[in-house]
């Protein structure tokens, strides 16, 4: 699959790092979640908010994959957050913002291109050395592992299945007994 943001080399580092912070993260496509988020504006509508009301997994017509259009204000907020303010005046109304893309480029450079080939203990050491970036990566990895698969992660519902979570359930919902009984 072509990536929306990462280079092939960067993608391999992200994938290896995700698999270390969440075992199974590689198979669950957590790196694709992060790539889809950082590259949200490479597609139209941008991959910020999945559609509604139903995914089709529990009945109804599937609509999560049709991402919702952003308003000009939404676009300003999310481009600033992801791309940074980049000296653009409209994005700097409350000062310069370092974007997530830059934080990832810096973080991946610090982990090193050789990261995927290192033994696990050495990978762990590099992640611990770059604590700030690892915290950011882990937050996104959690979203990619346990969020709706339409965002690119949780492939084949690997995350939800691994922990026994039922995920989105509309329009089926739960019966009263499923709510009230053990």
């Amino acid at each position: 699959m072509a990536h929306l943001f990462f280079s092939d080399e960067e993608y391999l580092v992200v994938e290896a790092a995700c698999d270390l912070v969440i075992p199974g993260g590689r198979e669950a496509g957590v790196a694709d979640y992060i790539d889809g988020f950082l590259g949200a504006f490479a597609v139209d509508p941008p991959r910020i908010w999945a559609g509604g009301p139903f995914s089709g997994r529990r009945g109804g017509e599937a609509s999560f994959a049709e991402f919702l259009p952003l308003s000009p204000m939404d676009e300003l907020a999310w481009r600033t957050r992801i791309e940074g303010s980049l000296g653009i005046r409209a994005r700097e109304f409350s000062g310069p913002v370092v974007g997530l893309q830059q934080r990832y480029r810096d973080g991946l450079e610090a982990l090193g291109a050789d990261f995927p080939s290192l033994p696990a203990h050495a990978q762990g050491a590099r992640l611990r050395t770059n604590e700030g970036f690892t915290d950011l990566l882990y937050e996104h990895a959690c979203e990619g592992m346990y969020g709706a698969p339409e965002y690119g992660g949780n492939r084949d519902l690997a995350g939800w299945t691994a922990v026994g979570f039922e995920g989105d359930v509309q329009p089926r919902g739960y019966t009263d007994d499923e709510v009230s009984l053990p």
């Binding site: 270390l20 912070v21 969440i22 075992p23 199974g24 910020i48 908010w49 999945a50 559609g51 509604g52 009301p53 139903f54 995914s55 609509s63 999560f64 919702l68 308003s71 000009p72 204000m73 939404d74 300003l76 907020a77 957050r81 109304f93 409350s94 762990g124 992640l127 690892t134 882990y138 937050e139 990895a141 959690c142 979203e143 592992m145 346990y146 969020g147 709706a148 965002y151 995350g159 939800w160 691994a162 922990v163 026994g164 979570f165 039922e166 995920g167 989105d168 359930v169 509309q170 329009p171 089926r172 919902g173 739960y174 019966t175 009263d176 499923e178 709510v179 009230s180 009984l181 053990p182």
Partner: protein, 542 residues
């Protein structure tokens, strides 16, 4: 201003009386098809990323930050970001709430008279009584659609009508905690909830999906303001303008003449009006009055929220807290003084205290859970064991918060929003009253979890001044129940609005949200603010 529960209730009443109404909403519209208001939109979904991570219901704290400090000793501000943010979207706070809609009780309107003053608190009695408000409570319950059991709560105030619907299915965890609470002598009951237990007002029954608190309802079974807004729009006399930020109320010779607003493209417009209704919430409403140059010294003061005591416990069995209406049981016992609470108050140097309504509740979704555990080898095992989600249950007490003049909203001297206007600055610190009540009731809630068989319990409170900014618990209160910043009263010297929400000095400006509250009570504010808004709207049309 504002299309939440207060603004939509007013729009419903005014349009049905033949008035023409323009509803300004600074957030986006994900609720109603404006080309055909009989149709609802379908943007809401069971999506943890969209609703809890990516600000789908707004406001985006990057574009519209607020600032916070505990006191002037912190300097101009100690924190910039999300401060008690309620949704900025069509439907407002009614969209994300899980819809617990209790009434206040008689004494909530006359705490000063009943219990006496508290040092350092600007306690006052309300200019309305429970009896004045009762018919409007009944109307509000019908307007929103509240499911409940009129006989279940022994502390409840008298009511003229039953709930329009019976309660929905109890959550399994709540059946356990309610039974344990009963064994310890408390009186848990089915929470009055704005989620349909049967088809109601053209909307379906709730199907227990569990994505309730912090989510919009994908099937519109929740009593968000969709019904009153649709009714208002379908008269043809209301116009809803999403993505418009009202920046000023124009006033000439003590009379409001209209408003100035910025549209989605950044262009400034003016609109004239005979009456201006403010329902933007207890932080944005005083901000707008201050931006407009209103000068009453109490505007923005007496900001209250609820002091939350959060007690959670780990259970041996799984209780699937992700199924059901987020909260199905509550108890009021900790709002009622007894010998032990009087003794504890005396020991804390207080004349009296009380806590708040206790919600029997589980934790959030798996993304929120995952971020609690450390990364690495143990992550997946932690998630599978699910100590902080599937095996967790507990309580949140919405503790009464004393009104203090020093707790306030004003305009930040430097920080601006995306439109270039000064943002709201919150100055807030808790009173010994809340801390003492929390310290007294926290162990009692933990004892209920022990009685349930919890393997461990943990007690926290929000706000907590000892913790750093930016975390889940911090000096910024988590409570979205903000109240009190244009308090109501008979005397223009000691209150900003009268008992009908009319600004004393500019009576054609009406406040129709929880800004008008005189005290916080220990109950969620929504039903009371809607009842007051209905009363204010009827006064306008009578």
């Amino acid at each position: 201003m504002g299309s939440g529960p207060g603004g939509s209730a007013v729009a419903d009443v005014l349009t049905s009386a033949g008035w023409s109404v323009v509803i300004f909403e600074k957030g986006r519209n994900h609720l109603i098809d404006l080309d055909d208001p009989s149709r609802r939109k379908s943007d809401y979904s069971n999506d943890e990323i969209k609703f809890t991570v990516r600000h789908f219901l707004g406001p985006d704290p990057l574009l519209e930050p607020r600032t916070f400090r505990r006191s002037e000793a912190d300097g101009d501000r100690a924190f910039v970001g999300d401060v008690n943010n309620l949704p900025a979207t069509v439907g407002g706070g009614g969209v994300h709430a899980d819809g617990k809609l209790p009434r206040f009780r008689e004494e909530d309107f006359r705490l000063l008279g009943e219990h006496g003053p508290v040092d350092g608190a600007a306690l006052a009695d309300w200019p309305v009584s429970y009896a004045d408000l009762e018919p409007f409570y009944a109307e509000a319950e019908r307007l929103i659609g509240v499911a409940g059991d009129a006989d279940a709560n022994p502390f409840a105030a008298p009511r003229s009508k039953p709930y329009p619907m019976p309660p929905g299915a109890p959550m399994y965890g709540a059946t356990l905690s309610a039974a344990a609470a009963e064994r310890l002598g408390y009186h848990p009951y089915a929470a009055p909830t704005g989620a349909n237990s049967v088809p109601y007002d053209g909307r379906p029954a709730c199907n227990n999906c569990g994505f309730c608190a912090f989510y919009g309802c994908p099937i519109h079974a929740k009593g968000d303001p969709v019904a009153p807004l649709q009714r208002a729009l379908l008269t043809g006399r209301a116009e809803l303008r999403p993505e418009t930020f009202v920046s000023e109320v124009h006033v000439r010779n003590g009379v409001a003449t209209g408003v100035e607003y910025v549209d989605a493209g950044g262009t400034t417009h003016a609109e004239t009006a005979r009456v201006v209704v403010l329902a933007a919430g207890a932080i944005e409403t005083p901000r707008l009055l201050l931006l407009s140059g209103f000068e009453h010294p109490l505007i923005g003061r007496h900001l209250m929220c609820h002091f939350q005591t959060i007690v959670m416990g780990g259970l041996r069995e799984r209780v699937h807290p992700h199924r059901g209406r987020s909260v199905t049981h509550v108890h009021d016992d900790h709002l009622v003084a007894d010998a032990a609470s009087r003794q504890a108050a005396r020991e804390a140097g207080l004349p009296w205290f009380r806590g708040g309504m206790v919600e029997h509740c589980g934790p959030g979704g798996p993304i929120q859970e995952a971020k609690i555990y450390p990364w690495g080898d143990a992550h997946l095992r932690s998630m599978q064991k699910s100590m902080f989600r599937d095996r967790m249950w507990g309580f949140t007490m919405q503790g009464e918060d004393m009104p203090q003049a020093t707790n306030r909203v004003d305009l930040d001297p430097r920080v601006r929003d995306v439109w270039g206007f000064p943002v709201a600055r919150v100055t807030y610190d808790s009173h010994p009253f809340e801390r003492a009540a929390s310290g007294h009731y926290g162990p009692r809630l933990a004892a209920i979890l022990d009685e349930m068989g919890a393997e461990w319990t943990v007690t926290t409170s929000s706000p907590d001044a000892a913790l750093p900014y930016g975390g889940f618990i911090s000096p910024v209160p988590n409570s979205k129940h903000v109240m009190g910043t244009t308090r109501m009263g008979h005397d223009p010297a000691t209150s900003v609005v009268d008992s009908y929400g009319r600004v004393h000095h500019v009576p054609n400006v009406v406040v129709a949200d929880s800004s008008v509250f005189v005290t916080a009570s220990g109950y969620g504010p929504t039903l009371t603010l809607v009842a007051l808004a209905l009363r204010a709207a009827r006064a306008l049309t009578s």
